[in-house]
Symmetry: C2
């Protein structure tokens, strides 16, 4: 009786805790076909043998975590994830280093952002260390699914969805966290391919008072139509503007290396304070590295597309790139703005700028354990 009480009491007060001792592992009896030709890997199309699931209810908190074969989810058609987009996710990777060790890159940063996203849509908080441990377990079980070689990795997709069986618009009383894994190749298998952007003044990705700073599914749905429109016009990505301020590029953070109005060499990216910018982990890593290097000014500050266009015309823009987990960096060679093309310098020999390359090389070296760094976590 007493122990029952203790258990009930502690559950109701620690509903965020995920009990790793309760982990159920059911290895698949029907392994999925692996792609042996690494050049055939397509982002997010193939999935590894196993997945993590952790159910949650408002009444009992997090249930027993489970790792089992990749399988369809059985969800009521009334679940709030299908109607009100109560869903958030993360993107992270597991890498195999030269010694064959598995590594994660700043996994706790993903977990912090994941939890912040969950809070924004009234989904439960959770024990972040426990989820990292579950992910370590998953990548260990599916280690043969991590393709070898620099640039190759096992993409991990932690996801949290609301499963409440009700159409009322409100906080969900049940949820499911799951993690699936997809083997992926380098974003640029044959070296960088700098992209052409179109600065969009018709569609807006995020706005002050919205939810652009969180990794919610709802930030993505409205961006697909504008992205397809841009592609039809021959542009790879949309450069998102808000009242002419540059915000993000496609699904990445935006960086520019320029000579500012005071003649200083400066790396700039939009700041986080107004809630329109996703706090990218690659973004943060680049800012940290550039500040460590201390060779130029590093600023998180707002800048308009008009300012950027003027700087390009005056030859003050040295490099521009997007930053995100999928590509690390994505060099930009031109921006179309109000019907005019603004070309950005590209070093032909490396198909990007010098800083873009340096950032990419450094982060890759950390991710694959070639240099010592706290950011790389050996599993």
């Amino acid at each position: 009786m007493f122990s029952n009480f203790i258990r009930r009491y502690s559950t109701s007060n620690n509903k965020f805790s995920i009990n790793l001792n309760e982990l159920i592992i059911e290895k698949t009896k029907t392994p999925l076909p692996k792609i042996t030709d690494k050049s055939k890997l397509v982002f997010g199309k193939q999935f590894s043998d196993h997945m993590i699931e952790v159910p949650w209810t408002a009444e009992n908190g997090w249930g027993a975590p489970k790792i089992s074969g990749y399988h369809n989810l059985s969800i009521p058609p009334s679940a709030s994830v299908f109607h009100y987009a109560l869903e958030c996710f993360e993107g992270m990777k597991a890498y195999k280093d030269e010694k064959g060790q598995i590594r994660l890159f700043r996994p706790m940063e993903n977990m912090k952002r994941f939890e912040n996203s969950a809070k924004r849509i009234c989904l439960p908080t959770f024990d972040k260390e426990a989820v990292v441990e579950l992910i370590k377990k998953l990548v260990t079980i599916d280690k043969d699914w991590i393709p070898e070689g620099k640039g190759y990795s096992l993409y991990l997709r932690p996801t949290l969805i609301a499963t409440q069986n009700s159409l009322g618009v409100g906080a969900s009383n049940s949820a499911l966290m799951f993690v699936i894994a997809s083997p992926v190749g380098p974003y640029y298998p044959e070296g960088f391919k700098p992209v052409r952007l179109i600065a969009d003044d018709q569609y807006v990705r995020a706005w002050a008072g919205g939810s652009g700073a969180f990794k919610l599914g709802s930030n993505y749905a409205p961006t697909i139509f504008p992205q397809i429109e841009a592609a039809k016009k021959g542009y790879s990505q949309v450069l998102w503007l808000l009242n002419d301020y540059v915000t993000e590029v496609g699904t990445m953070n935006m960086f520019v290396l320029w000579k500012n109005n005071d003649g200083e060499l400066e790396l700039i990216t939009p700041p986080l304070h107004d809630g329109t910018i996703l706090p990218g982990i690659t973004r943060d890593s680049i800012l940290s590295l550039a500040r460590q290097w201390g060779e130029f000014k590093v600023s998180e500050k707002n800048f308009t597309m008009s300012e950027l266009a003027k700087a390009i015309k005056e030859g003050r823009v040295k490099e521009a790139f997007g930053a995100g987990t999928a590509a690390i960096v994505s060099p930009i060679k031109s921006i179309s703005y109000k019907g005019e093309e603004y070309p950005i310098p590209i070093d032909e020999s490396i198909q990007c700028g010098q800083l873009t390359k340096r950032v990419s090389d450094k982060i890759l070296a950390i991710q694959y354990g070639e240099v010592e760094s706290d950011w790389s976590v050996v599993v």
Copy 2:
């Protein structure tokens, strides 16, 4: 922007057709328990015995429609509906009139909006008449689930979700349309209960260049947290502002009856042209009725919360109400704005304004077939 968008988007083939001759009906062998005490009905918690499903693939278009027992959906964990909120829906009702006939209210208006929502997130268009026919079939099969009595109805939830088994951010190559049905009681079982609103200057529901004009799941997720915050402060609903302009109230359109600056009696609601306002079917019905009555000026025009607050102080605001499918109209008795309470007149005998009551009575009479109207469609 809204009309431009609709004009620009065109279907490239006739894969939109849904073949009613292929309809499969599998009646449930395990009927769900019905709630016999109508007062116990809770919005969207109980579901009728059957549901509609129509699958779609980019390759083959719409597949055979099916009506079968209410059941969980089996969806891959990688499906884009779980990650990028590729989902849209409608809200409509089936009513039982005094003769026992089943009626729908302006169903084609729901279908047009449903299709516009689908287009906005690159989901397929469809044969709107065919979906209305499927809905008629469903409500006929589940006719015993339509509770009798004025104000009672079977709430219908057409939904379209992206089911593509891939994590790439892009248009989905497969989708599922489904319709579930939930018996509901009157929004105000004991007469109107006018609500207190808080005008929110911290959170913004929709903005120009976003997707507020479409019934997408992604418009709802970010509103739940602000709604809960408002409830904690003792307010029923959030009055959504955009740069001080009044946009919507909770999940409803906003109406105000006032004496305008020129001394004219005027019914106002924000206009649709900037793409931030959901084109509500109740909204449209109220505008049509008010224009038919021709007793006061009817305007779709922008107004700020400051203007509204000033008008309330000057005693020029006669009534204010939200409008939507769930409640038809929801009378407002006060608005909190910048720390001050702005009371709106309520006729104590009817717990709302005279126009609010008249609109409600008229639409109810049409929905339950008490007066002749093209808006009410007998099944």
